[in-house]
Point group: none
Chain length 400, copies 2
Amino acid sequence: MDFDLIREVAIPAETKIVLLVMDGLGGLPDPQTGRTEMETARIPNLDRVVQEGICGMIYHVGIGITPGSGPGHLALFGYDPLHYRIGRGALEAVGIDFDLGPQDVAARGNFCTVDDGGLVVDRRAGRIDSDTCARLCAELRTIELPGAELFVEPVREHRFLLVLRGDGLSDALSETDPQQVGVPPVEVAARVPEAQTTAGLVSTFVARARDRLRQHHPANMVLLRGFARWPDLPSFPEVLGLRAAAIAFYPMYRGLAKLVGMTALPTGPSLSDSLAALREHWGQFDFFFVHYKATDSTGEDGNFQAKVAKLEEVDAIIPELLTLKPDVIMVTGDHSTPSTYRGHSWHPVPFALRSRWCQPDRAEAFNERDCQRGSLGLFAAAEIMPLAMAHADRFTKYGA
Amino acid sequence: MDFDLIREVAIPAETKIVLLVMDGLGGLPDPQTGRTEMETARIPNLDRVVQEGICGMIYHVGIGITPGSGPGHLALFGYDPLHYRIGRGALEAVGIDFDLGPQDVAARGNFCTVDDGGLVVDRRAGRIDSDTCARLCAELRTIELPGAELFVEPVREHRFLLVLRGDGLSDALSETDPQQVGVPPVEVAARVPEAQTTAGLVSTFVARARDRLRQHHPANMVLLRGFARWPDLPSFPEVLGLRAAAIAFYPMYRGLAKLVGMTALPTGPSLSDSLAALREHWGQFDFFFVHYKATDSTGEDGNFQAKVAKLEEVDAIIPELLTLKPDVIMVTGDHSTPSTYRGHSWHPVPFALRSRWCQPDRAEAFNERDCQRGSLGLFAAAEIMPLAMAHADRFTKYGA
């Protein structure tokens, strides 16, 4: 979306918008039946959203490009993911619910194994267990650096998050992970002159970490990559004039919502937890991003029938969701995860929007083949928020 | 396509991609039957590609814009033809299989007739025959210029190609063709200061050509236009990570493929020559651009039935092509050439892609009306390569 244009035409209103994101929604046909997961599922309530609404197919990054979760969600929130990039380190922070701020530089860390000569022999330190990782992170956290605050947080197994907090830090640093064994870790280097100080801090951290870890074979060294600052994204609530809330259980999605300025509400893992959070906070917000994960995980597992069942579970909550009378409801996904493909894919994702102001179109059912017939055609996910705003009477006209 | 993005996500794979271009593919209805050439032809094998694949309609330059062969093909190869322009002189070089290099400046030349006062009386020298043209080119080729190598190659009738090769040459030169009779040829001028030397060389060439041609009435002078350097296009094989081959008989299409870095394979004019080349080199390349000319020439001739017959000939080779088991096959054209229109046109061109990973859509037959119903809608031809790469499992995901 065009932020300047949106700011210009956005007006206050009392209307409510719900964006229900089924992670990894789109699929491919079961070779036996020729029908996709969505075509197989009995989802009459989602079908009714399509019948009463407008629909189309969305792509999040570009034609043929498979989105990661970060770019997929940013696009749904209206941000062109090719323009607004979230560095790997920042995404790692988001993924463990670490509140990254504007003074921070984050990096992905690995515990690794080096031999007596200092050469890397295992880039993952034999995948130490998460408890060991947490213990070693606590040890590294006591390192002191001049002029910067230090955070070392366990992620999982051999992976951790490093955050430096201080004035004037830069993320223009080269990685220390050599990406191969038999060579020493790479010395960190500033890629621009302004990053010299930060490079010095990181170098000191690495040297002290080596000392602290010496006795902790196989996790006797660290490798760092993906240095990234807090991505300074325009504020979703400010640009759109919406009090915006996220109802998401997993840290990654809560974090992405927080990065654009949404309030992440407390919730549990189930759909009824999501409904309860929605009901409880209905009066306090104008926009709700509701995230549902299981459609993606079942797709990643290659479990076609389980994905079908998860779609049917989502379908079952739609009537109750509609009793809240949202002025606009959008149902879609952040990317496709076909069960036959067992992973994120580039395939466009069905999208439907229902409000009282929908132009009629020919789509009848919530699936790939039918949404292709929708009036919206194939379009950029970053345009769904302007559509929602219009259908929620939250835009005035452009020009006289 | 976005070259930086593609470089970022492209990964190695063993898969094979075939792009079969039927020149001038799209058509318009026969007024008698109301059916286009593609709707009239019996093309069951191409229809099956559509049924098993995804499809849509492509535009190469922009809505309503008729592409020349250069921009049409560049778009199919992924290059936005509004951004990547091939100057007229360079295209002329490509059209006669002249290997234009980075040190070259090429121009289109005409032999013309001037009267005793030096005024142009015929801009085409009475369209002298091609043999005379070749003889005069050989004569001009003996001209020597200080600091530049000179090539003068016959094209056809009164047309020739002039190439200067040397260090620091510029194509920022004004044309010498006055585009009218009754006036003298225009003196070449540098359009920027850096082109001064090149302007001097061209001016010397023109003066010496006038001397050499004095006795060769009606071809007693030359006119030059379309000065163009070698278009420094990003390399298709490098950007996409594909070993890429072109199977095209006509010099123009071989040349276009070579300009983007493809290897032009030896082949003959017939479809079975193309198939033979494909079979012979199948192991050595990942991508094959196969060009078929007759759909365009029959359209240009206004011969509806002949174009129908040529489509059926292409259809007949599809089963054999598929025995090679390409992971992705794309069938489309570089522009429309409706037989009723007798020339290149702006009409969008049917496009179909078949792979094992196709999202189902509603199109059933390979023609304009059915491909309009395809899941891809109306889209830019420069996006077909990213689509092919995705369907060939040659892209990793974008962002985490």
